[in-house]
Amino acid sequence: MAGIYIHYPFCKSRCYYCDFYSVTEEKLSEAFFQALLFELNLRKSMLGDAVIETIYFGGGTPSLLSAPKIGLIIEEIAKHFNIADHAEITIEANPDDVTSGYARRLHEEGVNRISLGIQSFYNYHLRLMNRRHKVLKGIKSIEIFKSAGFDNISIDLIYGLPEFTLAEWKKTLKKAVNLDIQHISAYHLTYEDNTVFSTLKKKGLLKPVDEELSYQQFMLLSEFLEANNFVHYEISNFGHLGRFSRHNINYWKNIPYLGLGPSAHSFDGKNRYWNDSNISKYIRIDKKIGDIITKEELSAKDFFNEYIMTGLRTYWGIDIDYIKEHFSEQQAISTERFATPYIDSEHIRKERNKLILTKKGMLISYKIIADLFMS
């Protein structure tokens, strides 16, 4: 079992909050495409003969790639690998790029899951974030995908924006639920270094929402979506049963994945690799390869810490018996010891041998995860 991630590093314009790697020079797109096929051939051996369970086109804005190109990439993957019968093939789409023709063609090429960058149902928010689309186009694009036959649609939403009220958030969530989609990723705005938002924040021109409001928005999010048939299966992810993001879940379960494209990450079961975030280097990948990839072998401690980190973020939590078995008895004991104060304060729930973050705990997941790490 394995996954493949393709990073398409181009956007028409950059959103002010975003620090994902992408450039706006779309003229390099063709060269990227060639380099991508080259990289796939070069690195396919990393996954051996594993069956490909998930393919994910992320970005950047992969919906800027034409449907035939998407098809070619899938075909190329199929040449080298066995793609599972019910493989999940996702593309991140920006609403502006969505036409009924495009949606239909994607469906024909085998894409079966859509992650739509809706972000907000308020135009003033979309403007503030420098998004290309407007609210109506966002809603419309969902309809288009549905009509094209997609039954696994996810939308991204951002909350915790400056001056975002609880009432607005409640309306947003109601709208989302009424759209009859299967999955929602809802992210609290974070101010990432080197983004327009973080500069504005430093200058005092953007004021982060206060903690109490963040807290209430998160609680509302979780409670409201749970009341509407969504499972809160990871801090920022909600899905109907059977419609969770398999690709992301596999990341957390240590299933190997091959990441192609600049800034993409890979994992072969023992080592993690990441490609340089540099498109001009990437398109010369046929000349020099060693240059763009960094490799890091995971130590036992790294494995443990990653287990804690990915496990605690999900509603499956971490398993004390698993720690005993895969790490050590001692480690299991100390993990429980570090967890105890959080169990007392109801940030962690203990269910038999499992430790799971409560809603309150999810809100301070960084602190708890760091605390439970091996030092």
């Binding site: 609290h188 109490e212 990441w274 990653e306 997941s365 602190k367 760091a370 790490f373």
Partner: protein, 595 residues
Amino acid sequence: MDKIRNFSIIAHIDHGKSTLADRMLQLTKTVGEREYHDQMLDDMDLERERGITIKSHAIQMRHTKDGIEYKLNLIDTPGHVDFSYEVSRSIAACEGALLIVDATQGIQAQTISNLYMAVEHDLEIIPIVNKIDLPNAMIDEVKEQIVDLIGCDPDDIIEASGKTGENVDLILDAIIEKVPPPEGDEEAPLQCLIFDSVFNSYRGIIAYFKIRNGTLRKGDKVKFFNTGHEYKADEIGILGMTMKEEKELRAGNVGYIISGIKVSKEVKVGDTITHRDNPCAKAIAGFEEVKPMVFAGIYPVDADDYEDLRASIEKLQLNDASLTFEAESSAALGFGFRCGFLGLLHMEIIQERLDREFDMDVITTVPNVSYNVYVRDGSVMEVHNPSGLPEATHIDRIEEPFIQAQIITHADYIGPIMKLCLDKRGELQNQIFLTGNRVEITFKMPLAEIVFDFYDKLKSASRGYASFDYHTSGYRAAKLVKLDILLNSESVDALSTLIHEANAYDLGRKMCVKLRELIPRQQFDVAIQAAIGAKIIARETVKAVRKDVTAKCYGGDITRKRKLLEKQKKGKKRMRQVGNVEVPQKAFLAVLKLD
């Protein structure tokens, strides 16, 4: 022996001792041009970085005058008040001293106190006005101050510049002419005064000494008078830029001895070395044991490092006889040591040396002075740790150490300085107008008051134009209370202080405020309280964290997130658990930085 001159340099801090020493080393070709760098003798990184001398340094130079070659043993000394004991020891090994006064600053508080030490030991004083190259040098005025102080002839004062080297040759000549050669009998039984010792990881303990009488040869069987231990003189020699081995050293010389000593306690600065088989009749009157003035707990950050910390402190003590320590333990910090320091700079430096030279991460607790506690049963206890205070009902009275403080400043700043000293419970003793508009003010005040933020306040009250010196001057009864800090109702022993009743409320409030800033928010509210006995006098709350960075989408980039959180975990290691509250290490010193 008549071709030997032993001298030291005394001055107020930063008046240019080390710089002048550099010039002398160059002029006498003790260092070659290529090996030369500034602050030659300050061989600790810490000294070079801070531009201050912490330890005395001895070095031998050769200088020819009228066709005769002389051996000049120079001992460079620190200027800061905390290290005046180093000065006193150097002085004991010398017959003369250069008194250096900065031409732009004039005589300062420590010029005077160090001078008095030299005079007590009958040292020949060679007065020098230094830094004459500076445009704002007030040569005549400063010469007048020197004449007023030591009564010398104005023509005897050498005008020099350590920076340009001007007239440094005259200084060398003056040393030969004026400083008397050491006295002593080369044939008499051996009598050497140990004035310093250093630890070397390869050679063990190296003791520096001056030979008063007799002759020491390599291989001699020697005895340390006070400790009674016997050794073989494996190696002896003189101190050039590096150690230079010699076969024998005669009376009057300054040198070093290596005798395979590994245990720091065996070498006591001030002890006398003599021959085993032909010992001298009595020891040279050694030094008074330096008394630490300020005490604080030093604890390893990592409890497993306790034994290493002990070994490190022991080694430091070798270089620094003024550092004292004894084991203690704290509920909040575990096992550590109560250390005695000469002052706050000394404490800071020890902490930094532990970090640099021994790679020891330590937590230092709130410093305090040593109190005499008179117990009802008639006994007296020396208490230098708030937790060592007997129960209030058993105490008859407590006395605290007082100091006599001298401040020299411009007349313009008398007002603010008076106010500061009175606020610090000082009593004005005397006020003398010196030359020009300079004033010397003498106060009696509690030592405890200068432990907290006195220097910074003095500096701002005088815009930097005040020099300060002090010496201890007895004990006086004081109304002291023990101020406790509680975190979520648990008292934190390492944060307790003994404080004068009148200041307790203010300090308690400020500590709570400061701790509120320093204690990170936790998953529950943290109540910070200051209490005297059962009475709560201040309270602050650190509100619980409700939310941290809520996870955003990070795809397959698991490594970066992990590393970020691992860093956070590392930061946590620097925290102490007090009850259920995590307290950052720096909080334990927080009270020092109150305003």
